[in-house]
Point group: C2
Chain length 108, copies 2
DNA sequence: AATAGTATCTTGCAAGGCAAGGTACCGTGT
DNA sequence: ACACGGTACCTTGCCTTGCAAGATACTATT
């Protein structure tokens, strides 16, 4: 069930967040990075390798679009496989969150 | 405030859990590893480097005790600095958890 | 022209989780 | 007596990955 939740954390938490953002609408890396930087302190250098990985895994597809304010943007769009991955990662995340809460006890 | 929450996650989540376990009583690595393996799928090979790191950081102190069922156990005990670290890591964790929840939106 | 902002991507570094293996002690079964 | 499995310690080497820094290039403002 869990496989290896720790690696899941490393590999999955940022990925999950990106998938969640994309589930609300197509977006491009630079903007995703800005939001994630604000939310969880992710660096910009992290996003591009991550997006390529996700594309290689078939979770997202891309298309170019002019922006008028800089170079053309590469928009990312969730695939069906990506939406599925999002679901399963959310449930993994929730299981992990629950496990941590249990370990922490009633400190919460 | 956040510094770098992603690295905080990697470096900190397991550490935080171990600190939390120790806050409920002294324990030895093998048992900690077993509990963590069950809870979040951590491998045994992870615990010993982690414990040494924590000791180097002054978060825990150690003492030996005979067990009668195998080699003597090296018990770890939370230091004051460790208890402090636990508190701050819990609040970091909660902030991170909240940020993720916000990103996920009402999918939860 | 020069700068600043938007937006893409690459490279090199360092941290750390994991699998696998090694050591050693103890009790049980044959 | 001896092998085995469980307890408990620890090390080594691989691989992933997050990050800082820098490179590229287009547009608009000064």
């Amino acid at each position: 069930m869990v496989e290896s939740l720790q690696i899941q954390l490393k590999k999955g938490v940022l990925e999950m967040c990106v998938l969640a953002l994309l589930s609300k609408g197509d977006n491009y890396a630079y903007d995703i990075a800005s939001r994630m930087a604000e939310a969880v302190g992710m660096g910009e250098g992290t996003i591009y390798p991550l997006m390529r990985r996700m594309q290689n895994d078939g979770l997202v597809s891309t298309y170019l679009q002019e922006s008028g304010s800089g170079p053309p943007r590469k928009y990312y769009k969730l695939t069906k496989s990506g939406a599925q991955a999002l679901k399963s990662q959310i449930s993994d995340w929730q299981a992990f969150e629950a496990a941590v809460r249990k370990i922490l006890g009633e400190v919460t």
